[in-house]
């Protein structure tokens, strides 16, 4: 652009300006949702990722029905089945397609149950963090002034620490357990949502429909939650998806380090940690398969999130 001096001709810009005139005449025939769906599926990668993600979630939900063993039920776990390679026959006469871990848990079953925990922790902490971050960010943008300054400085402070560090400190303080890890993840994440919502709410707040709502005598709460909030959801969904992937990875990290979930409720992180000591003795499967499951889950969530961002961000529109 800069070397191609002749600035009065910028070709791409010229055609970009041509577009609005078309938009004006081409009264939209499709609903926004239909357009959203068709644009989302324009990318084959995103379609594959969404399909994978749905399959993973369904498998995790149906885990008790489609696995041969309940890895949490100590009665079903036989220590004699420990560290069997993939395809071995278990004592209870089923094939361990992915082998077993050191405690004799069928890895296939353990991975699906682990996914349940990982997804549940990731999504629950995400939802709670969204609810908190959204309200705080919305309040900051709407009220402005000192309230906004205080809230945003806290957010800045929080964001200047790595999320992993914050979560690690909290878990170390609180101890093990699902509820504690969710709490730690919420604390580590809410600030991202607060900042995202505040950013888009600031833009929305300055629009005329908000002034109109005010001049109609509607309450502040109604203007904030019924008028401004629905228009801030698009970036929130995008950040939410990607943050959920982060939360899952973070939980796995904490569990891997041994400060997350207890051995009796193995999440993917715990499974990977358990197998780690056997890696060098050639029993790769104990760590690698849970690791792969984690990788596929996180990558597919991120791919879906990327596509959501492309479709929902008007500035990237062609």
């Amino acid at each position: 652009m800069s070397t191609e001096a002749t600035p009065n001709l910028a070709g791409a810009d010229g055609a970009a300006q041509a577009a609005p005139e078309l938009a004006e005449t081409g009264a939209v025939v499709e609903t926004p949702f239909k357009r959203f769906v068709s644009e989302f599926f324009e990318s084959r990668v995103a379609m594959g990722a969404l399909f994978t993600l749905v399959a993973i979630i369904v498998a995790a939900i149906l885990a008790p029905l489609i696995t041969p063993q309940d890895p949490y039920d100590l009665g079903q776990v036989d220590i004699m089945d420990g560290r069997l390679p993939p395809g071995s026959e278990a004592f209870a006469e089923y094939t361990m397609v992915l082998g077993s871990d050191g405690a004799g848990r069928d890895l296939y079953s353990a991975i699906l149950y682990g996914l349940r925990i990982s997804l549940a922790v990731g999504i629950t902490s995400g939802l709670i963090a969204i609810a908190i971050g959204m309200s705080v960010g919305l309040l900051a943008a709407y009220v402005g002034g000192r309230v906004e300054a205080i809230i945003m400085r806290i957010v800045d402070l929080q964001l200047s620490f790595p999320a992993a560090l914050v979560a690690l400190m909290l878990v170390a303080l609180l101890g093990k357990g699902i509820d504690k890890i969710i709490l730690a993840l919420v604390v580590a994440q809410w600030a991202y949502y607060a900042r995202t919502v505040r950013g888009s709410a600031l833009v929305e707040r300055s629009k005329e429909y908000v002034e109109a709502a005010a001049s109609l005598g509607l309450s502040h709460a109604r203007i904030m939650f019924r008028h401004i909030l629905p228009n801030c959801l698009a970036p929130l969904i995008v950040v939410g998806t990607i943050q959920t992937a982060h939360a899952i990875a973070l939980e796995a990290t904490l569990s891997f380090l041994g400060v997350g979930l207890p051995q009796t409720e193995p999440s993917l992180g715990v499974l990977i940690a358990n197998g780690f000591e056997y890696m060098l003795s050639g029993k790769y499967w104990i760590s690698v398969f849970p690791g792969l499951a984690l990788l596929i889950t996180i990558v597919s969530i991120n791919l879906v999130g990327d596509q959501l961002r492309d479709v929902l961000n008007p500035r990237l529109k062609r």
Partner: protein
């Protein structure tokens, strides 16, 4: 009976209203000033001591170029923005001092029609909610009656009620502006502030909306403050015209008199420079210079650096608004 009592009291009265926007220094700025950087808080006098009274049923046009404060004044009248100084009176009572039902009444009475038919409608709400929300929330109609009420209002502004389940993006610019008008009408206003309400519309659609404004005025006995930079529209619709320049009123008069013989040099310049269909192949002889920044307006008369007739007094003393003829005021030292 109240009609008679209120006939002497203007519907809306603006008394010495000013609006200042102060760009405060943030923490870093304050620190920099402490350390000796010449940073100052910047103050924009968007509106500077404006008086205006509007009688029941009147149509007042408010004209000026960008930075003259016409939109800010309109927003203060509509109660969207509080004035920094002065008061806005509704039927003789200061709106800021009202509470409870009186306040709600004043809020409903003054509604605003916005310029941008896109950003003035909430894109995530259906038309029936955009129009029907406030009446239901405030109990003007019941939840069950909302649908019929919305139908009635949409019909009044010339929209097909069958379209009320749609979202704003499914309408054209002109239709959206009608939705905005319907939203205002739904709370039974007495006074509409139209801020460049037709500026964003196509020429053929502008005429439709102007006609709609005039029809509604008759039907609902509405009073208008019609803010526009488009003099031909203001000339057409207004009975009285107020011209502003950099936050101050420079001239106000009955439309006919003002357009026939503008008194203030700025009014003259403005009127002669509006492109008109009946002025063909003219040799444009524009007034010189830029509109000064409202951050740092010229001293004395704000217009003096561009004024062809300026003399010494203009750069030192602010000319006051004087009655120069019945029902006509102008702020120019030439009238002294």
């Amino acid at each position: 009976m109240t009609e008679q009592a209120s006939s002497s009291v203007p519907l809306i009265e603006i008394q010495g209203v000013s609006k200042r926007f102060v760009k405060r220094l943030d923490f870093a700025g304050k620190l920099a000033r402490r350390l000796g950087a010449g940073l100052e808080e910047e103050t924009v006098h968007a509106v500077d001591g404006v008086d205006l009274s509007i009688a029941q049923g009147e149509v007042v046009g408010l004209v000026g170029e960008s930075g003259c404060g016409k939109s800010t004044l309109g927003r203060m009248v509509a109660g969207i923005m509080p004035p920094s100084d002065g008061a806005v009176l509704y039927k003789g009572r200061d709106i800021a001092s009202l509470s409870g039902d009186d306040k709600l009444e004043a809020t409903f009475a003054v509604q605003m029609i916005f310029q941008d038919p896109f950003s003035s409608l909430n894109p995530r709400m259906r038309v029936e909610d955009i129009v029907g929300e406030a009446p239901v929330v405030h109990g003007l109609v019941s939840g069950n009656g909302k649908s019929d009420y919305v139908d009635e209002i949409l019909t009044k502004v010339g929209l097909d009620p069958a379209l009320k389940r749609r979202y704003p993006h499914q309408f054209s610019g002109g239709q959206r502006q009608r939705i905005g008008i319907a939203r205002a009408l739904a709370v039974k206003p007495k006074f509409l502030v139209c801020d460049e309400a037709i500026a964003a519309l196509d020429v053929s659609i502008q005429a439709q909306v102007i006609n709609l404004f005039m029809d509604l005025r008759e039907e609902f006995d509405l009073t208008y403050l019609f803010i526009s930079h488009d003099l031909s529209v203001v000339e057409h619709i207004s009975e009285r015209v107020v011209i502003m320049y950099l936050g101050r009123v420079v001239e106000a008069a009955q439309a006919e008199a003002l357009f026939a013989a503008p008194n203030h040099p700025y009014a003259r310049a403005l009127l002669s420079e509006v492109p008109r269909l009946d002025q063909r192949k003219r040799d444009f002889q524009p007034i010189k210079g830029e509109i000064p920044s409202p951050l740092d307006p010229p001293p004395g008369c704000h217009f003096h650096p561009r004024c062809p007739q300026a003399f010494e007094a203009c750069s030192s003393a602010r000319p006051m608004l004087k009655t120069i003829a019945p029902d006509r005021i102008s702020a120019c030292h030439l009238n002294d």
